[in-house]
């Protein structure tokens, strides 16, 4: 049905796809797996006409096609559900679905006909969507089904789903898989892009593995195993080994009591969270993305709207709940944020100016009356120290942070946050988009920091990473702590069960 032949695509200096070739057989569910940044989404966006390949061919139904835009792909019966939904939230479901292929004449949109067809489609695939509903009022799972309807409405025969489960609660994943199987039964072809091996094994008929922009393997799902796929994905022994001596925790540094956070929509993002982190230990937080991990870190750092927060946060016995982010930093809370480009760095500022973010009002950086003067020598010295100690490359203080690779940007942030050494480090997704060498470096540093007596709270969506690094592991689901396990003993199944709400998911 769909074939990519030697697709090559470059974004600036990054080779996103390097002679990618793959074949999707009609009537199958085909998985494309690979780590973040392996080039899966790029390849699929090319198949959908959203990007144009620099070289290579897209073949649909046996003939090479020149896809100028998604329009051409849609005409060929290809539909795509993007990881970030492509929906206009202020419009209704029906309006979203017919957008671009409106029924009726140019002077009068036939919304009634549209609604009827959407309802019919929704029923025949068991999607249960009300065409009159406004998209912004729907849950994430429902919005995803609107995306599916959009493709079905356009009579897509091939549906590409980009990381469809990343944002879903476990029940919703089960629902989605049921829907996808139903579609296959009705003759649709489905491509699912993911980096979760368990899902590949559960849903797909065939699987293509990508790594560093290349296709490194193709298997029939029935004839492969998680271990083999993992080896292909990472290109080496997959088990992330973190050399980690026994932890010797001291007294509690952070104590959180009954912490809740109300979202802008009134729903609770955090719901009565209580726990403690002791000096010299790494406490991990695991959970399906979007279950409150990001909010927990931001709330502890003082970045959430304080009027929406209830409960108490204590640092070394002092209640820091009413304090601003700056005051919390002064008391020794450091933070490596999840979104390093938006939050963690001033991308257009040079490395030296980035090295003082968060400490710009403290000596030796700030001197003179009201500490208003910036000491340039002190700034450069500080930046130099960080760049050298954390091996930030290239070590040119005058470069804008934008010009660094993801791994080097992360090292710069980590170095900045550890100088001066904090009492509590909040760290979210420390190795997302970081190369293998960088990952090992960052993991080693975190363990060293722990052993020097710092309390660390770690959030990562890579289960492997949190279990390897943490001394204790909390599981967060729908803003609540639903369990604590010993990561050295607990099995992945046990943790997964807690993350997904146990039997209810099945």
């Amino acid at each position: 049905m769909l074939e990519l032949r030697d697709i090559t695509k470059r974004f600036g200096d990054v080779l996103a796809n390097d002679r990618v070739s793959l074949t999707v057989a009609p009537g199958t569910i085909h998985a494309i797996v690979g780590e973040n940044g392996a080039g899966k989404s790029t390849a699929m966006r090319i198949a959908y006409g959203f990007y144009r390949a620099d070289a290579g061919e897209v073949v649909v139904d046996g003939a090479p096609r020149d896809l100028q835009s998604p329009h051409d792909a849609i005409a060929l019966g290809i539909g795509m559900v993007h990881q970030h939904f492509m929906l206009v939230e202020t419009m209704t479901v029906a309006e979203n679905i017919v957008l671009g292929v409106e029924p009726g004449g140019p002077l009068a949109l036939d919304l009634r006909a549209a609604g009827a067809r959407v309802r019919a489609l929704s029923e025949s695939f068991g999607l249960q969507i009300d065409p009159e509903a406004r998209v912004e009022t729907l849950s994430v799972g429902q919005q995803q089904r609107v995306e599916l309807l959009k493709a079905l409405y356009r009579e897509a025969r091939l549906l590409i789903l980009d990381e469809p489960t990343a944002v879903l609660a476990p029940q919703a994943v089960a629902d989605l898989f049921r829907i996808l199987r139903g579609m296959r039964a009705q003759g649709k072809t489905i491509v699912i892009v993911t980096h979760k091996l368990s899902e590949v094994l559960e849903i797909s008929d065939e699987v293509t593995v990508m790594r560093d922009g290349r296709v490194v393997g193709h298997r029939r799902t029935a004839e492969t195993s998680a271990a083999e796929l993992a080896r292909l994905m990472v290109g080496r022994d997959v088990l992330l080994r973190v050399v980690k001596p026994e932890a010797h925790p001291g007294g509690p540094v952070l104590r959180v009591r009954d912490l809740s956070l109300r979202g802008a929509d009134g729903r609770r993002r955090l719901d009565g969270v209580s726990f403690a982190v002791r000096a010299g230990e790494i406490v991990g937080v695991a959970g399906v993305e979007g279950n409150g991990q990001a909010e927990l870190i931001e709330t502890l750092a003082g970045l959430s709207d304080r009027r929406a927060v209830t409960g108490a946060i204590e640092l070394g016995g002092e209640d820091v709940t009413p304090l601003t982010a700056r005051r919390r930093r002064e008391r020794g809370i450091a933070h490596v944020p999840e979104d390093r480009q938006r939050r963690g760095l001033l991308l257009d500022f040079d490395l030296a100016e980035n090295a003082i973010l968060g400490v710009d009002e403290r000596p030796p950086v700030a001197v003179g009356p009201w500490r208003s003067w910036l000491d340039r020598k002190a700034i450069r010295k500080r930046a130099q120290t960080i760049v050298a100690a954390f091996d930030v490359r290239p070590p040119d203080l005058d470069l804008p942070a934008r010009s660094l690779s993801g791994g080097n940007q992360q090292k710069l942030i980590l170095g900045r946050e550890l100088e001066p050494p904090p009492r509590l480090l909040l760290v979210a997704q420390p190795t997302r988009g970081v190369d293998i060498g960088g990952i090992e470096f960052i993991h080693r540093r975190l363990v060293e920091l722990r052993d020097s007596g710092c309390a660390i709270l770690l959030v990562s969506s890579e289960l492997e990473e949190v279990t390897a690094l943490s001394d204790r592991l909390l599981i967060l689901r729908q803003g609540r702590i639903v369990g604590e396990v010993d990561p050295a003993r607990a099995s992945t199944e046990e943790i997964g069960l807690l993350m997904t709400g146990g039997e209810a998911a099945a």
């Binding site: 144009r52 998604p70 957008l99 671009g100």
Partner: protein, 290 residues
């Protein structure tokens, strides 16, 4: 107040609201597509000036009106190319156009009529009748229909709210934004033409005197919706009618009535009364990645 005076006042309010409404509806098309249009003032000036000149030479207000529409679209195209093709800051580009049309009419009228920014007087018989008033108010339901009941309106709104979503649905974002901006040029120019060859009988330097900005204020006050925008224009038109009527008669200084639209807009923007939410992608240039 006698009934006669009240009727006169109301009619005057409608008359004064007309150019505001035309420009505001124009701004609505541009802004709902995601392009900020603070160039309404310049577009109105372009329309007013072109209409006056074309009517002067052709002796027909209809030719003048048509010329104004073409000029307005031409100038709007500059804004469109800068903002859509070259992804210029939309506010900066709009400001440039406003400055441009303080200068261009003066430059041209100096060359054509050796005046400092005014065009020759047009005889009464060659002025526009009340047609623009009818047109402006008829455009309100028409705009509502276009926006909510036609494929074009649906796409226009989608492009202004989430251009990437529209793009993936196979919609040409740039083309719709050009359409929105060009419509704003045409309508604002009609509003301007009504000033120079309808209410007055010649173009004078900076004759819009901030009406483009009041139209923008009405658009925001009306929450980017046609009917509410019309009500805002009527309110502002009424304020202007009142301030003209009260000149020299009342104790209240006219300045206090003149600032009503501006103060109201600030109050609305700050969320003191109701909440005015702009189209989500307003002001954000869109570039396809290829």
């Amino acid at each position: 107040m006698s009934q006669y005076l009240l009727v006169a006042l109301l009619f005057s309010a409608v008359r004064l609201a007309t150019p505001l409404l035309l420009a505001a509806l124009g701004g609505l098309f541009s802004e709902r597509s995601g392009v900020i249009n603070i160039a309404l003032e310049g577009l109105m000036l372009a329309g007013a000036f072109t209409a006056a000149i074309a009517t002067h030479y052709s002796h027909s207000p209809w030719v003048g009106l048509l010329a104004a529409v073409l000029a307005g679209m031409g100038v709007a195209l500059i804004h469109g190319v800068a903002c859509i093709r070259y992804r210029a800051d939309q506010v900066v580009s709009g400001t440039a156009i406003n400055i441009l049309f303080l200068g261009v009419p003066a430059l041209l009228s100096g060359a054509l009529f050796e005046s400092t920014g005014a065009t020759p007087q047009i005889p009464r018989g060659e002025l526009l009748p009340l047609a623009p008033i009818v047109l402006a108010f008829a455009l309100v339901p028409a705009t509502w229909w276009v926006l909510n009941r036609t494929p074009f309106g649906l796409r226009l709104r989608a492009v202004g709210e989430n251009p990437e979503a529209a793009d993936t649905a196979g919609i040409d974002v740039a083309r719709l934004r050009y359409a929105g901006v060009l419509l704003s040029g045409a309508l604002a120019a009609i509003g301007g033409a009504y000033l120079s060859i309808g209410q007055a009988s010649l173009f004078t330097r900076n004759m819009t005197a901030g009406r483009g900005f009041i139209a923008l204020a009405a658009l925001i006050f009306g929450k980017w919706r046609p009917v509410q925008t019309m009500l805002a224009c009527l309110l502002f038109g009424f304020a202007e009618a009142l301030s003209i009527q009260m000149q020299g008669v009342s104790q209240i200084p006219v300045q206090f009535i003149q600032i009503i639209p501006y103060v109201l807009t600030i109050v609305v923007l700050a969320g003191f009364i109701g909440h005015s939410r702009a189209p989500r992608a307003l002001g954000v240039p869109y570039q396809k990645k290829r």
